[in-house]
Amino acid sequence: MSRLEWQVATVEAVLPETPRVKTFVLRLPHWQPHRAGQHYTLRLTAPDGYQAQRSYSIASPPEQTGQIALTIELIEEGEVSGYLFEGVQAGDQLEVRGPIGGYFVWEATRQAGPLLLVAGGSGVVPLMAMLRHRQQASVPNPTVLLYSVRTPEDVIYGQELQAMAATDSTFTLLLTFTRQAPTGWTGYQRRLDAALLTEVLRRFPTSPQCFICGPNGLVEAAATGLAAQGVPPENIRTERFGPSSNP
């Protein structure tokens, strides 16, 4: 079987993450190790033969063998995400193809320097694969996740990230709430700007490798801001989604 053949995966679990986000854990008959940051393409076929496909980032680390976790946001009028949210439960089957992507990837053994991950909304998903891979590999590289969300209920993987930050002194979680912060919140409460990025960069002994994923506006602001602070452009890798690039 060729590397990128379609295969029929079985849904092992559907886990609610936020009111608009669910994780689908899929068991693959032809699983192979992916690189953290890669994605799979998922294809739905109607009984009349109509097909729709979309790409979704892998949330699970390559150490989780035999299965992949895809964390998916429900998009307004989303043809594929709408079906997955309404119609799919454990035991169902889904066609997927992957893993895909060779640039927005982080490998613990090859890139062990300081790491800055910047996420907006569901852009945290491929970065979570990197953090889980880093945890599994026990790499002590200084790592920060700067994660921009609208409200507390939009935080995906909140408990796991808090636990990771509490048990790993080399990992820092920085949340920023752009619409509404939790009661008593003393951290960031604004969109990413130059001052915020400067503060975050100061936490690193040397210029970090940066991965930025989220809506185009956030990615553009973060990438431009980090480059303006002197991070070499080749150390800034981005993955963007717009209003219509992943319905």
Partner: protein
Amino acid sequence: MQNSFFNRGFQRKRPASQHVLPPGQYETQDFPVLSAGPTPRIGTTKWSFGLDGLVTNPQQWSWTEFNALPQQDFTVDIHCVTQWSKFGTQWRGVSLDALLALAGPTPEARYVMAHCYGGYTTNLPLADLTGGKAFIGLEYDGKPLAADHGGPARLVVPHLYFWKSAKWVQRLELLAEDAPGFWERAGYSMYGDPWKEQRYLDDDEDLAAGTR
């Protein structure tokens, strides 16, 4: 290739496109931005564009010189490997036929590597840039091309997946042999025909035929 697998209860929800879509694509009305790194901002006073490699008269134009070349309007359909297609996009720019005529490809020239500000590269057969199939886009929708869409100037080759339409293009190098560019080295198709759904290296015909 088709199998009998289907997803129970799944049906078309988006209105059917008025256009014929390549396999696996859906129609969008907006223009999503996809780039692998920060957006390079190239001032037009520093900008230049050139044609070199296997040509008899290597060319290099400043922004002023390039804009003085004959421009044409192009209305084209574009197809992104991330599954969106956009129909009837309107551009203004300079045809590659005109540029290649000035440079004069040598008989050995068969492939092109596009080199871009910011370091991006992508490879195409030379034949896909001739015969009215490609242009350097300077305006989109009646306005100067925005930086995040590849401005000030972008290669546009609409019959191939849109990553071949290199943003921030700086130089086209004519070559005798094909060599992978940025996404091609990361596992994407060497050619990228949307109608044959050549998204990834595994989808390329010569690989499927086992000749490489």
